[in-house]
């Protein structure tokens, strides 16, 4: 069992797909129930993984590999393996994925048509996300990455609002460009290294003994090429994160797609970018990461400020959240740019924390939208009167997002900034400005929606039902758990980070 | 009394160019078919000239040209047949009027 654990975890959503395929379309109740239940399987498995994870061990755990493809070159063959493994970096993200997936499955109850297809696609996306985090092989990473994109395209295009098709197309093309660039780098690495295993590539690129690092040896990789690969990877993941000039797909998608879809996207998918920056950019090219850390930091600051300023002027809640996501992902970049343990921890904390909070907030928006038919602040207002629970939790979530101490947002932002102040204090100081703005726009939006005069037609709306409250509570408690007991995350991370990023300081 | 090979090749080249020009610019479908025949005949001249005066004179050039002639005939026959059926339906042999599909 232990041998196949990760494989089972990765493909566990497919069980639900299989079952759903046999449920007739005419039983929406069964479909929905089955859809939610199916997400519980990976959740349980992920929790088991967390429980059994050995935080002290260095490197990957539960490693498994199978020969998949052999590329014949002359008489010999270069293998591409199917290999899985988990370490302190991917484990929290795996758990995050399953949690968000389950919550999103609940949020998807508000979907109004074609539940069967929705849940099938949804589970395929979940499989893709899990696969991305369990793969220790670039090729496999890429394939699972694509597995998240294509079903997402369908989900955005079929279930959403008026302009959904354009949004999905935009999403597809942006991410297509990103993955295309990624593929270039992966294939280049494959050709240069002769392997696609992330660990082996890291060894070959960083170990001083490796012929790749000794000039005049065959296979030596000059710095220029390394820089090129590094930048290409950066661009590829920048689209995913997204870093500012590449963020437009996200605005459109967040505006038009169904909230349940956005929960996955905002909660997990965009984290893949940050994850890959650590996994690949920082691990493969630590020198360049170091040298260009200022650039990354500047990009991060731009993200924070740009996102915050624009979030400030949005009336549309979803758009506001989209800009807020941009802003928050900037903090991830800041943490990475610090190039020290605190910074990296902060970045990962921020990813998890933002994942949870963003999911929560979109869930709230979904509930509000379902009831009022709008998510525009101007058309809302005074909701606290008719739905106090929703309003209350929304307020709490906003505070968590703004980085209120005691919640996860605070820890992550704190650690990121501490890390960056150690190396680039000026940039860190500018970035910190963004935190203030965050509080401002979040409060503006939340208060605008919940307080003030209520509109006539909103007075009789019902509050959240018990089953709708469960996900909120779960998410909120996780946010608070990380906020007051960060060790749940930091413990497995500690040893792993040292292992992943060779040049990382103390 | 022997003619240098370049003159044969030159004739072929001129013929080929006339054919190509005609095939690309003429409006009348029959003229286009004829232009193509012209190009193919340029090839035949080339082949036969090479077969006699080439670097390695041998008969395969002539054999090749036999096949070229046959194939050209078959192609022209098919082309004409199609043109006839086109003409029956559209009552034109002008190529610039064959524009039903541009979009």
């Amino acid at each position: 069992m232990a041998n196949y654990f990760l494989i089972i975890l990765t493909f566990s959503p497919l069980l639900g797909v299989l079952l759903l395929a046999f449920v007739p379309r005419s039983l929406p109740g069964t479909v929905k129930a089955l859809g939610i239940l199916a997400t519980l399987v990976p959740l349980v498995l992920a929790l088991m993984l967390y429980a059994n994870f050995n935080s002290a061990a260095e490197g990957l755990q539960l490693v498994q590999q199978w020969n998949w493809i052999n590329i014949p070159v002359g008489d010999q063959a270069i293998p591409i393996n199917f290999e899985v493994g988990v370490d302190g970096l991917s484990m929290p993200l795996l758990v995050l994925t399953t949690v968000i997936a389950t919550i999103s499955a609940f949020a998807a109850l508000t979907v109004n048509k074609r539940w069967k297809e929705f849940y099938i696609l949804f589970l395929i996306v979940e499989m893709g996300m899990l696969g991305v985090f369990t793969s220790t092989n670039l090729f496999q990473f890429f394939i699972f990455f694509e597995f998240t994109i294509i079903p997402m395209f369908f989900m955005m295009g079929i279930w959403g609002y008026k302009d959904r098709e354009k949004a999905s197309m935009k999403f597809l093309l942006y991410n297509g460009v990103g993955s295309a660039i990624m593929l270039i780098v992966f294939v280049a690495l494959f050709i240069l290294m002769g392997t696609l295993n992330i660990e082996e590539i890291k060894q070959l690129l960083t170990s001083p003994m490796s012929p790749r690092n000794v000039p005049d040896m065959p296979g030596f990789i000059p710095e220029g090429l390394r820089l090129g690969l590094f930048l290409a990877l950066l661009v590829a993941f920048a689209i995913k994160i997204p870093i500012v000039p590449f963020h437009t797909w996200m605005l459109k998608a967040y505006q038009e797609a169904h909230p349940a879809v956005i929960m996955i996207s905002s909660g997990v998918l965009i984290k893949i970018g940050g994850y890959a920056l650590i996994r690949m950019n920082a691990a493969f090219f630590p020198e360049w990461m170091n040298q260009l850390s200022t650039l990354i930091a500047v990009l991060g600051v731009i993200n924070i400020l740009y996102g915050a300023v624009l979030a400030l002027v949005q009336d549309e809640l979803k758009l506001m959240l989209a800009y807020s996501s941009v802003s928050h992902m900037g903090i991830v970049l800041l943490g990475l740019a610090a190039m020290n343990a605190e910074g990296f921890q902060g970045a990962i904390f921020q990813m998890v924390s933002h994942g949870l909070i963003a999911a929560l907030m979109f869930y709230m928006v979904a509930l509000i939208h379902e009831r009022t038919g709008t998510s525009n602040i101007r058309e809302l207002g005074g909701l606290a009167k008719s739905m106090p629970i929703i309003s209350g939790i929304l307020l709490t979530a906003m505070m968590a997002s703004a980085g209120l101490p005691g919640m996860s947002g605070f820890i992550s932002e704190f650690m990121s900034f501490v890390g960056l102040f150690g190396t680039k204090p000026i940039i860190a100081a500018i970035g910190a400005l963004g935190i203030i703005l965050t509080a401002v726009y979040l409060l503006r939006a939340t208060l605008g929606a919940t307080f003030g005069p209520i509109q006539q037609k909103h007075e009789s709306l019902s509050d959240a039902q018990a089953i709708e409250v469960v996900p909120m509570v779960v998410l909120l408690s996780l946010v608070i758990l990380i906020g007051i007991y960060p060790a749940v995350l930091s413990e497995p991370l500690q040893t792993t980070l040292q292992n992943i990023v060779p040049r990382i300081g103390g | 009394m022997s003619v240098p090979i370049t003159s044969y090749l030159l004739v072929a080249l001129i013929l080929f160019c006339i054919g190509l020009y005609g095939a690309l610019t003429k409006r009348n479908a029959v003229v286009i078919l004829l232009s193509i025949e012209l190009m193919l005949n340029a090839v035949n001249i080339n082949l036969v000239a090479f077969a006699k005066y080439g670097m390695f004179p041998n008969i395969s050039g002539q054999i090749f040209s036999l096949f070229t002639i046959t194939v050209a005939a078959a192609e022209a026959a098919v082309g004409l047949a199609i043109l006839i059926s086109l003409y029956r339906n559209r009552n034109t042999v002008r190529v610039d009027e064959m524009d039903l599909m541009k979009r």
Binding site: - | M1, S2, L66, I69, T70, A73, A74, A76, A77, L80, A81, I84, R88
Partner: protein
């Protein structure tokens, strides 16, 4: 050998030029002798004595084209029969078999045309 070859074709050229020359000379000579007095009526196209109606360059029966196509195909196939016939002695039995196949295919082509009523006039 080369002179023989060239001379043979020189003769051919002589014949062809004579073929051109004769009409040219005869017509030029005739021009000096014959009267020339063209009038409208004379130069009118003949149409059983009445004024001609329209141009005669009109759409023609497609039958002719189809026979032309048939001719092209069969005539060109003889291109292969001639070399085969000339070289028949040196090729052996196998060439016979091959040509049997070839001619059989030709005959099938003919039967095809026959069956499709292409060979009918009218």
């Amino acid at each position: 050998m080369a002179t023989l070859y060239a001379n043979n074709y020189f003769l051919v050229v002589i014949f062809l030029s004579l073929g051109v020359l004769l009409p040219v000379v005869a017509l030029t000579f005739g021009r000096l002798l014959r009267p020339s007095n063209p009038t409208e009526e004379k130069r009118k196209t003949y149409e059983s004595g009445v004024d001609p109606v329209g141009s005669s360059w009109v759409q023609f029966n497609v039958k002719y084209y189809i026979f032309a196509l048939l001719f092209v195909i069969f005539d060109v196939e003889t291109v292969f029969l001639y070399p085969w016939a000339v070289a028949y002695d040196s090729l052996g039995l196998f060439a016979l078999v091959e040509m049997l196949i070839f001619i059989t295919l030709l005959i099938i082509g003919l039967i095809y045309a026959w069956k499709k009523k292409v060979l009918e006039w009218n």
